[in-house]
């Protein structure tokens, strides 16, 4: 039960952060990716702000084996940069540049009640399922 309440709360906090940061607006993300024309560097401050908080805490929790709700912490420690990582990240980058939405803001975009975002979400889930299909 606590796990479910915390998941909902963390999602909500994350969503509020996204809205305040401005990253729920696709045009603002495009502005960041547009380095040759009216560049908007705001996204660096979003990632920077988040990393500023998470880096020291992840460092402190480095040897933590159990979470507060006593779930076993299993972080994958794959070290090598492989073809899937490179190709996948390149695909993601292209899709990100086409619309200005990455997965977090794409889900939060439902809060703006723009019908077109549902088409984006359906396409995104199709992409997820397609990856599962080709991975098997």
């Amino acid at each position: 039960m606590k796990d479910k309440i915390l998941s909902l709360a963390c999602g909500a906090i994350f969503g509020v952060g996204l809205v305040i940061s401005g990253m729920t607006n696709p045009e603002k993300v495009i502005g960041f990716l547009s380095i040759t024309h009216d560049w908007d560097a705001s996204l660096i401050f979003v990632m920077g702000g988040a990393i500023l908080v998470t880096t020291p805490i992840f460092f402190l929790l480095k040897y933590q084996v159990k979470s507060l709700l006593s779930a076993r912490i299993t972080l994958t420690e794959i070290k090598n940069v492989d073809r899937r990582l490179v190709l996948g990240s390149a695909f993601f980058g292209v899709g990100w540049g086409l619309v200005g939405l990455c997965p977090g803001p794409a889900i939060s975009s439902i809060a703006f009640f723009e019908p077109i975002t549902f088409i984006f979400l359906v396409s995104m889930i199709s992409g997820i399922l397609f990856n599962k299909y080709i991975a098997n």
């Binding site: 998941s7 999602g11 996948g88």
Partner: protein, 146 residues
């Protein structure tokens, strides 16, 4: 006349929003033991039975959070998106496929991974930002994305 980029640049709200996102990532990790990578949470809520409801609730939170924020601030936020169906369908598909093939998105690689000094995540982030920049540049040459 105010330069468009200077007018759009919002370092302070973006920094504050980022700090709030970082807080959410830490709270989620410390309590549940899981990393708040949104593409992973979304994929798991669709394809994995383990923690499915919790994952679904996190996604629901991503929608409820902004709605509560709008309610308290008496705003409905700014949302500007392309109206091209081809871009939407192709973009959505590539974001879904790419984030899962690459094992993460802006949150999983860009925030969680980088702050854990993961070489894979640093590579992934450099690659997706570079390809995003190239894509936007190419579209601008065709008059798409101003």
């Amino acid at each position: 006349m105010i330069d468009k980029a200077m007018y759009n640049f919002t370092p302070l709200p973006s920094l504050i929003g980022g700090i709030i996102i970082g807080f959410s990532v830490i709270l989620y990790f410390y309590t549940t033991g899981r990393l708040a990578g949104i593409s992973g949470i979304l994929a798991n809520s669709v394809t994995n039975k383990l923690n499915r409801f919790s994952n679904f609730l996190f996604l629901l939170g991503l929608i409820i959070g902004p709605l509560i924020y709008f309610l308290f601030n008496k705003t409905s936020g700014t949302f500007e998106i392309t109206n091209s169906l081809i871009l939407i369908v192709l973009g959505g598909f590539l974001v879904g496929l790419g984030t899962r093939m690459g094992g993460g998105c802006t949150s999983g690689h860009g925030i969680c991974g980088i702050s854990r000094f993961s070489i894979r995540s640093i590579f992934a982030t450099i690659i997706f930002i570079s390809f995003g920049i190239i894509t936007v540049f190419i579209l601008q040459q065709f008059g798409i994305h101003l």
